[in-house]
Each structure stands twice: as structure tokens, then as C-alpha cells.
Symmetry: C2
Subunit: 115 residues, 2 copies
DNA sequence: CCTATAATTCGACAATTATTGAAATGTCGA
DNA sequence: TCGACATTTCAATAATTGTCGAATTATAGG
């Protein structure tokens, strides 16, 4: 992921309604959520929400598909993954940073049960 | 880390010069870098850089200390850590997400060398 | 074809953010 | 105290972003 895409993604998430919408979509999983449902849930006018969803889309963080009359948005985990990867690599000094937060299913830490 | 701080942090990083400056500071480590040095390295006018560094500071991503005539900026790893933690928790569906990116010393991928 | 529903696009405006030279502030050495 | 240096603050302006009602596009059912 190049710096430019990263900036677009960060900018997309750096807004109250968009961050909230993205969190909602992450929770919703692959099924996603209809634009209207998101707008209603967040208490934001449909046209405003549409604007924000377009931003998230432009940043590649969400995908959209039509389903009958509704347009369903879904979080793009790969993109989020890419963003996290970039931040890990470039903004955490290689110093594990959230090494904890990310890797806490260490069923393999037996490597050196030492002592 | 609350959503509001997260938005400030994301917004702070969502800008070409600021992302570049932050990366530079992460590399620089605890020693940090003088404002002027950052500006020169990035080819940005001092007053502009000062503005951006203030933004990073306001977002809590960098700390500053005076050292003689210079003002030294340094990345605040704890803050970055907090940001990453939030994103992991709220924007990655608990789905490992960057489990890979973060923990790539997988000498254990022999799991299915298959075929 | 007509109506209702679901979203987006348009347009006009408000608000925030970015850019810089010039002036002000703080620090040092002579 | 004076002058040079390192940065920030100011101020004016440009550019981008956010808001939301009204008009428009797309789909479904009768």
C-alpha cells in the first residue's frame, strides 16, 4: 500500500460519521448493510451519509453491491489490513507496537517455556 | 482511547507532510528531530511545517522539548499504540486483521506445506 | 405505465484546513 | 546589549471538506 492510498484511507476514517459507519460495517460482516439502514442507525440524513459512504468507497475501505432497491455496503477487510500493515511497518519503528493487541492467540508460545 | 481522540489522530496522519514527518520521527526514535531539520528534509517552508507539527502535537502523536535554540519533536509511541489498539478492536472485527503484518516471524507456517 | 421506495447527484453555502511571507519570540555567544 | 539563529505566531488567502434539501436515477410491484 502506497503512502497516497494510506492518506486517503486515514482521511476517510478521520471523520465522526465515517468512522462510525465503518465500525458498523465491520460489525455487520460480509452481509454488509444498506445505505439507508446505516444513515438511520447513525441519525444522519441520507444524502449526507451517501456522501460519506462514497468517501469510504473512494478510499477503498468499503465495497458496494446492489440488492434489489437497496445498495449494500460492506467493509473491505483486505484494505483495512493493508492500512494496518503500513502503519505497523512505517509508524511503529518495527517496535512490535501493538504486537500484543494483534497477536493474542499465542497458542504457540511454547517455543521457550523456559525457566 | 476514545473515538474523538482517534479521529484527531487519524486526521493528523491523513496529510502528506504530516504522515511523512511522523514517519521520520518514528525512525528518529527517542532522540527526535529539530523542527528545522524536519522541514528541510521534507522540503516544506518552516512556517508550514510548524503548523503541521502543531497538529501532530494537538493529536498527541508527538511530544516536543526545547534544546537550546532548537525545538525537538519526537514520536509518541504510546499514542500510536493506542490508535492501533483502537483500530484493531473496532475496525478489524476481532478477525486477526493484521495478525500477519504485525507478527511476521512465522517460522511456524509449516502447518500445511501441502502438495 | 404509474406509484412508492432506496439511493445518489446537484447546488449552494458553511466550516474547516492548508499555505506562506512577514513579524514576533526565545536563545545563544561575543 | 547586539546580532544571528531556530521557531512560532499572525494574517490574509486558497483549497478542500461537510451539510442537506430538492431533483434525479434505478428497481420493484400492481
Amino acid at each position: 500500500m502506497d503512502a497516497d492510498s494510506v492518506i486517503r484511507a486515514l482521511g476517510a476514517l478521520a471523520q465522526e460519521h465515517r468512522l462510525a459507519a465503518f465500525r458498523l460495517l465491520v460489525q455487520a460482516g460480509a452481509d454488509g448493510m444498506a445505505a439507508g439502514a446505516i444513515a438511520e442507525r447513525l441519525g444522519v440524513p441520507a444524502s449526507s451519509m451517501s456522501f460519506h459512504l462514497a468517501q469510504l468507497g473512494h478510499a477503498g475501505l468499503v465495497s458496494q453491491r446492489r440488492e434489489s432497491r437497496s445498495i449494500i455496503y460492506a467493509a473491505d477487510y483486505a484494505a483495512m489490513n493493508g492500512l494496518m500493515g503500513y502503519l505497523m511497518e512505517n509508524c511503529c519503528a518495527g517496535v512490535g507496537c501493538v504486537a500484543d493487541a494483534g497477536c493474542n492467540q499465542p497458542d504457540l508460545t511454547q517455543e521457550r517455556t523456559a525457566a
